[in-house]
């Protein structure tokens, strides 16, 4: 706030204000001054060490040489064409979405550069480089088309609907591309692509399940309440790792062995580990989503329900049109927090032998003799990838909160 008002003032005033701010906040008294100096020295030292590592002592060739393993794990050579349509679709949709729903501020622009520059640097040669450039170009085009006012106001509604449909279609398209025409064995899906896939499945599936659980836990039917409370308490009381291990060892004993030939190529007939893990993540996350949503349901004033009832709306419509929209709005920050959590938890599937990003990274340091001891570089890169996605989710949530007017009522 201070910085903003200062920025609007003329230069002379700015320096005076900056000086006053510094005096008031950083150098007010001996103790305060000492604290400022010590903190600055420590920050400068830490920053210097990090920069020195990143730009001088680190040898990033380990990432360059293993980018394939990190991003797609052991995905078979020659099958990469299955991945690109998804990447193109998501890039274009991301550009369109940002352009239509929000302006990209300087912070977001820096973030975008942080995402795009390293990504491009790692793919900047050969066919992969060209395809990556195409994906980036699609994102920028999408952004430009919707942001610069090229779209007539009349078409904004339909374009919004198209974008929503696009996002809904993205997941089936992804799965179809992975499985159709021969398909790739799900046990070979891996790398960061697998983390994102698991997170998306987990989010998309656990959200409706969680909402249903929350509704039934607040329902007036005791049977619904009992079942949903039991479910929630059960899944919240067990560590995720335990659930994942059970999905690995125990779940197969409970599953019927369908021998439907249609499912065979997808590995669905024997319920491949990846699918079991998807189920485990979904069931686990749904319990948390349910409790978050329940909090929102309880926050909706009783008068809202009564007004809707008095209008003659049915229970289903009251929930869908009046109660849930308000409840979800109220808990959006917590909900996104849970989804970010779920996304990061996808790294735990390495426990059950799936080669997701973190495990791929560990495998490099342990298995490739020429890169032994390069754990810092690898872990830093892994952390950066996770951070980029998690931070984007957090920003998107803030934009959403803003456009939904949370806290302005």
């Amino acid at each position: 706030m201070d910085a903003m008002t200062a920025a609007k003032a003329p230069p002379a005033q700015f320096s005076i204000q900056a000086r006053r701010w510094a005096r008031d906040n950083l150098f007010g008294g001996i103790g305060n001054t000492l604290l400022t100096v010590v903190t600055s020295l420590f920050l400068a030292f830490a920053f210097y060490q990090i920069l020195r590592f990143v730009f001088s002592s680190a040898q990033w060739d380990v990432i360059e040489a293993n980018r394939r393993l990190l991003f797609i794990g052991r995905f078979p050579q020659g099958e990469e064409w299955r991945l690109w349509p998804t990447i193109f679709l998501v890039s274009a949709l991301a550009g369109l979405t940002w352009g239509l729903w929000s302006k990209v501020g300087w912070l977001a622009a820096v973030l975008l550069a942080l995402v795009l520059v390293p990504v491009f640097l790692f793919f900047a040669h050969g066919q992969v480089g060209m395809l990556t450039a195409l994906a980036i170009a699609l994102a920028l085009m999408g952004y430009a088309v919707t942001q610069t006012g090229l779209v007539h106001e009349r078409f904004q509604g339909p374009i919004r609907q198209l974008i929503v449909v696009g996002w809904v279609m993205a997941f089936p398209v992804t799965i179809f591309m992975l499985l159709a025409f021969g398909g790739v064995d799900p046990s070979l899906w891996g790398g960061f692509y697998l983390n994102i896939l698991l997170a998306v499945v987990g989010i998309v599936a656990s959200f409706p399940l969680g909402v249903l659980l929350a509704l039934s836990r607040t329902s007036s039917y005791p049977a619904f309440r009992l079942v949903s409370t039991g479910y929630i308490e059960l899944f919240r009381g067990v560590p995720l790792i335990t659930i994942l291990l059970m999905a690995w060892f125990v779940l197969p004993d409970f599953l019927p062995s369908w021998s439907v030939p249609v499912f065979a190529p997808a590995g669905l007939d024997r319920m491949e580990l990846v699918y079991r893990v998807m189920v485990a993540l979904t069931l686990f996350s749904a319990a948390y989503v349910a409790e978050i949503v329940r909090g929102g349901l309880l926050a909706v004033p009783k008068g809202q329900l009564e007004a809707a009832q008095a209008l003659g709306l049915s229970t289903v419509r009251i929930n869908a049109l009046i109660v849930l929209p308000q409840a979800l709005r109220a808990v959006l920050p917590a909900l996104v927090g849970q989804f970010i959590s779920l996304f990061k938890d996808t790294s735990l599937v390495s426990i059950v032998t799936l080669v997701e990003l973190l495990r791929a990274g560990r495998a490099i340091a342990q298995g490739q003799i020429q890169f032994s001891g390069r754990d810092p570089e690898i872990l830093l890169f892994v952390a950066l990838l996770f951070w980029i996605v998690a931070f984007s989710m957090s920003r998107l949530s803030q934009r959403l909160e803003h456009s939904l007017g949370i806290g302005e009522r």
Binding site: P301, G303, Q304, E306, A307, A308, Q309, A310, L311, G312, L313, S314, R317, L321, I322, P325, Q326, R329, G405, E408, R409
Partner: protein
């Protein structure tokens, strides 16, 4: 009780009783309301007047007695309930507008989802109703952007959209700043003059005296006294009525 409006009985209550746990909120309410009649209900807080009108569209279920609204008895039958609710409009003390929807959508929501009107028809009706309550220019705003008086008028328009035969008002001006009370009462007065059947809980006695055909004085979960406004202002019979009137007038 013969009503001054003289229509057929659209609301019939016989021995309506209601408990909240051990507390008996209604101790046997028997009354009828004729079509076109305006009934003002008043009494001390906790006297059951609010519970009473909330039983009329089954926001509270009564435990004993009969309630018949426009020939339909209120009971477990959900089909009856839907029919009654779409014919009985209700206006609340706290407005209870839907904060996440525009004024237009607040009014059209039930039209498109209960009456199954087309969007264009519903929109036209919404604008017409906002005209009627005197705030056509607020159609695209959100409730939080309106003053209390405007919000309550939107709430009235929302209830009227369903073209109800009966309107229930539960202390519609109690949550309003004094300068906004009149604008809401004016709309209600106009409605009464147009022949709407109304049951109004209010302590705005000037308004009540002007529009009411009949007063019901509630105390301790019972109708203690009922009669015309003149009866109450000139010749109240019960001690409790006299005491209460002396406190609010």
């Amino acid at each position: 009780m013969t009503s001054t409006a003289g229509g057929r009985d659209i609301i019939i209550c016989e021995g309506v009783k209601k408990w909240f746990g051990d507390f008996q909120a209604l101790r046997g309410i028997t009354t009828t309301v004729a079509e076109g009649e305006v009934v003002v209900v008043f009494g001390p807080s906790g006297s059951g007047k609010s519970t009473f009108i909330r039983t009329l569209n089954r926001l509270e279920e009564h435990d004993e007695g009969r309630i018949v609204i426009d020939g339909v008895e209120l009971n477990e039958n959900l089909r009856n309930l839907e029919k009654v609710r779409s014919e009985v409009g209700m206006v609340f003390q706290q407005f209870n507008l839907f904060p996440h929807l525009t004024v237009r959508r607040n009014i059209t929501l039930a039209l498109t989802n209960v009456r199954h009107l087309r969007k264009a028809e519903a929109d036209a009706l919404a604008e017409q109703l906002l005209n009627r309550v005197g705030i056509p220019e607020q159609v695209d705003k959100y409730p939080a952007q309106l003053s209390g008086g405007q919000q309550q008028r939107v709430a009235i328009a929302r209830a009227l959209a369903m073209q109800p035969k009966i309107m229930l008002f539960d202390e519609p001006t109690s949550a309003l700043d004094p300068e906004m009370i009149k604008e809401v009462l004016d709309v209600m007065t106009q409605l009464a003059h147009e022949g709407m059947t109304m049951i109004v809980i209010t302590h705005e006695m000037g308004f009540a005296r002007e529009v009411a055909d009949r007063f019901l004085f509630f105390d301790d979960g019972m109708i203690v006294e009922e009669g015309t406004p003149e009866h109450f202002f000139e010749d109240p019979q019960e001690e409790r009525t006299k005491l209460f009137l002396s406190q609010i007038l």
